[in-house]
Symmetry: D2
Subunit: 389 residues, 4 copies
């Protein structure tokens, strides 16, 4: 028999939002979740209208996340997990409310705008023994999984150089001054926490972190704002020192004409190199030192188990952004189901099933803060905090 | 309020099948359908097990499509449409049964193994006033829509040359002799109707047909079977003459090492050319004669309304095969809903919402048959039947 | 000591010509030739001016190829070889004159406009024991050499499918009606012999012929002229049957917007496939069946001796069209030097040093004629003559 | 009449060298130079053998650059210019000797291993009124010229971000410990002056400098040596601050598996972005902000005069590394000829004809030194000296 779907709520993501819709596609694709409640907007009208358009019962269309957390916790059929897709500065209070209500959290990134908040969330989630997933979604592309597995299994040898970048061009002009809501909150330091470095630099950081598995030791950075009147960085340059001696660079930009969401990662070791691009995610280029470069295809020859677990369709039929996001949701679902019956240990032991958690989210915020500090101090090398035990 | 989902049934697509799962993803992604019944296998055990794994009620897990058609037609909450994902030779009897029961049909391609059957289905669907969609799915990629729109609006000028191809390599060895079920029925003339030309050549044909909108006049073809012991073509070459004087070529192969599902279309007119590749579907290359080639991106600069209607997420975040398939289902859903209330005329008038129907399916089978005839006759130019009025 | 350079003459290639300049670059690059005489134009003034601009002595600037052949043959320091770069219809009379004068010939392609002339030239060159090279220049790209070697050594297994194409767009409009001299003679049947099929289809044919080494058995073709008022084909489609059972297609077009000189070859066998593109000639894609595609780089890992013999600089530093053309000239030079001392047997035994000869040129003209015949006969399969013994 | 070729000498570049051969190809391709003398090796035997293999008269095969400078200056037919292709540390003494002898200099890069030497050479060349060219060869690719012209003419708007990189993989293992001569001197600080930053980082720097025309203000850098036992950097990271407020990054690496000579430049301004790659040099990608990316082809639509001046053959026929190098030599030749007749002013006024000089070479060495200083000081931002007046 098919197990019951996970009852999911959502905070944020009402009419006109972007990432809320993505989370809903992701939850739906593999039929593991049912969206049953939401605080999609803090305006009552809009919250109801947005909720009903998604098929929610009127009484479960909340206009306050606080009341939603309380009400849902009280229902027998209340939500088991909440997806938080608000602007960044709200992540912490919303997550806190749901964790306190005993509800698992799936939160967008960066997980908070201050690392102290992320630390508190980490402690709270542990105390309550709840799942806290952070949607660093690029880690769930099959070829990213394969890349990580290749590094882990030593096919690249000892890690030497990491080059990550995430250029965009949508903020090359001052959209935030013309009524674009996405642009407005993402360029507001209070709501966003960081500009290019927070919105997309954090993705580049996580991708490198996830694939290499190597602790980052220090950063030396330069943040700039090119668009006149902009209050936040729209171009970020970072040099990286890894604990093992490897070196790297991250470039994140929102003012680079010709790039849409051009996240790329290149990793080089003593025995080989690999390269991956989000805009063409079904291929991974791999060069064993001294041999020709190979184009590895998702579900093609040489595709490995780490990637295969996430591939839905045959090679040559492209999977994309929504599928990767859905894979993250599917792996979270596996853990949420296990939590139902208290069987989380068994799931945790399945190391192939994993997703970024609040611990990763915390490190991401610490990375952003270290970059900001280095830039403020004129390019000093800043040490990252040791990872939480 | 959100309208009720369309109640969908499925014939074929049990454990181990490929395309059935794709149809289910497609139906689910946009939350327009609910799968409620199935004859997923003709073996009772397997039918029940497959159905329950998908959450079907046991009494709606049928082991015979005939009984399913009768039983579902009799239920108040019976299915409104059936997705047919069996081997090709069963499409006609299954579709006939459901049409007779008053149920709309969504059928995989080629729609039949003989054009006479397709003609009969066309007549029956018209008589019963039912929707009959054929899943030539590549036509629902956003950039394919945009390509079609560009041709229609004259940006390429007068059509001159069409180059379509669909190479694969999965049948380069005799898999059908080793127990691979997919390979077995797809290389069996009785079940498949055609080999490379039927399975993938028909996709290349439809893509060219859809984008150019130009009637095909004659074909001159050569079918071959390279793998020893194979009873059906695994490589197809076709030269095309269009009614307006344009010329073209189609190459479909299942024995071309290095190609997975490498469907490509290039169209050239007196004013410009364009090129699209399924394995990288979010880009469309366009060259206005005498100007540099442009890379048009889904949801990027210059993206048009025809494509935009099908794009779910921002440019640079790749959409893939499942999204395109889901878009086809979503457009079919729009028509099925309209059929509920008798409002189909209004929907038909919305020319931007469309999908391949049994009329296209019939022409596809006629194309396959003309190619087969030309090849048998040693490369004579064979005229295609006039399109059904 | 460095041996004396080969004394070279040229017929055609005066001011405003294209291919003459290419031959001169090619002769110069490896410092094997010295251009010392020319009939660069049939207009005395222009012949003198063009010759002197190239540093020729005035008395060796001829305005007639006949007088040049006679005069040069009479000089002690007369030319050893002549490069013929006139419009196609003059190749035969010019070559005949120089062969009769005992001078080796390097001739552009197609070698003649009628196969009977090519046959006569073959016989004459043999009788006179002279070198007769035909500049099917694409065969001298290092990666093309490597491709040929890979086929010969069995890395692709048994040959199955060949896809060759050469699209351009420069004749998409009637340039020949506007005073463009290149366009004028190339679209004049009397001077050119063939349109797209002769000018570039013959290159695609030779590339396939050279790399596969497989005799072509039959062709089925369709020639068309799309530009109003054009007297010659500007689009050619050809289906190929090889003697061993392989099949193929050639497409050559001068009306395909977006293509400059986009010659491509793909070859598939039972064990692997490869792909090469002239516009990016330093890479060769190779897929061993069941393994990832490899990108082989000129002078990179896995580069073989057949290619290495022609590579001048390290991998990653691109070599191009002129280098390949120069390599052809360098290999011809090796044979010309050997002819000086009567040591041609030793050179012939060095099978790695080779170039297309009049025998290949003859087969090229026969290919063009067979295609033209097939097209005239409405797409009949036409058998090619057996290769000259 | 064709003017007499420029009499060229060469120091360095004997048997087994790489760049000497490249300079000879470059000098030969456009028939502007004649190599007539050389000190190709400091070993008499080898100097004679190498020289004679190149057709030099025995008495002009020197084994000492000092005696060559003196002897050639004394000959009526002595060399007019010398090409210096020795290891870097010899550039300064060799160039000094020839400048003192009144002979123009064409010198490889980096022009010296210490900026003080470069300054002295600049002063000496000016005093003697001699041409001193430095072969930052990538600046002579036609599409690089076009890129520069596009920036200068404002098509990118105000410069914002510059991303340059030059990864290789040939030193990923300790070749210098195994007898590879190229590796040996290039990894010896005394002979090379710098490792990755000097050998290839300087190319990346110059390319960015040349295309943007924007003065570099400060650098912040990190040099590393990954291969055990290596005495010099094999990976270089640099952050850039431009005088106008633009920012940039340079990455140069010799330990990045999968890269041969993968020099790339991306430049972004307020109105557009462009991208160029040395391994595919005939294309330039250009994105006007808010419009689709265009692929500009050498000698294709939109190709401009700045590039056209250097293009030899039609678009789609690739030109490569040697052609670009030859173009540099050709432009130098134009100035050398002008110097013959004292007409240098007229040539200088032709701003389209230009090449990197000792002034650029000096700035290149200053860049290297600033990077080295920044790295030694743990990543301080180091100011570059003001350009020489």
């Amino acid at each position: 028999m098919k197990p019951a779907r996970i009852r999911l709520g959502m905070v944020g993501g009402g009419e006109g939002a972007f990432i809320g819709g993505v989370h809903r596609f992701a939850a739906r694709l593999d039929a593991q979740y049912e969206l049953v409640a939401g605080a999609l907007s803090s305006t009552a009208d809009k919250a109801l209208r947005s909720g009903q358009a998604l098929g929610l019962a009127p009484e479960r269309c909340y206009d306050s996340y606080e009341s939603m957390a309380v009400a849902e916790a009280a229902r027998e059929d209340g939500i088991e997990a909440v997806a938080i897709v608000t602007p960044n500065h709200l992540h912490a209070p919303v997550a806190t409310a749901f964790l306190k209500a005993g509800i698992h959290v799936i939160c967008d990134k960066p997980v908070t705008t201050h690392s102290a908040d992320a630390k508190a969330l980490l402690a709270l989630a542990r105390k309550k023994n709840l799942v806290f997933a952070v949607t660093h979604n690029y880690s769930a592309y099959p070829m990213v999984r394969m890349a990580r597995q290749m590094v882990q299994s030593g096919r690249l040898g000892e890690l030497r150089v990491v080059q990550a970048e995430y250029p965009q061009d949508w903020l090359a002009e001052p959209l935030e001054q013309g009524g674009n809501k996405q642009a407005a909150w993402r360029t507001d330091p209070a709501q966003a926490g960081g500009g290019a470095i927070g919105d997309i630099g954090s993705h580049a950081w996580h991708l490198a972190d996830y694939v290499t598995g190597e602790p980052l030791f220090q950063v030396c950075a330069e943040l700039n704002s090119f668009v006149p009147g902009r209050a936040i960085d729209d171009n970020a340059q970072v040099m990286l020192r890894y604990a093992n001696g490897a070196r790297g660079m991250i470039w994140a930009s929102q003012v680079a004409p010709g790039h849409l969401n051009d996240l790329r990662l290149r990793v080089y070791g003593s025995k080989g190199g690999l390269s991956w691009s989000q805009e063409h995610p079904n291929q991974l280029r791999f060069t064993p030192l001294g041999q020709p470069t190979q184009i590895l295809e998702r579900a093609g020859p040489g595709f490995d188990a780490a990637g295969a677990r996430l591939a839905r369709i045959p090679g040559g039929h492209p999977e994309g952004y929504l599928e990767a996001f859905a894979s993250l949701y599917a792996e979270i679902a596996q853990h949420l189901r296990a939590a139902r019956g208290g069987g989380r240990k068994a799931v945790k032991a399945d190391k192939a099933s994993h997703f970024p958690t609040i611990a990763d989210g915390l490190r991401g915020v610490q990375f952003i803060e270290a970059v900001q500090r280095s830039s403020r101090q004129g390019g000093r090398w800043i040490k990252l905090p040791a990872a939480a035990a």
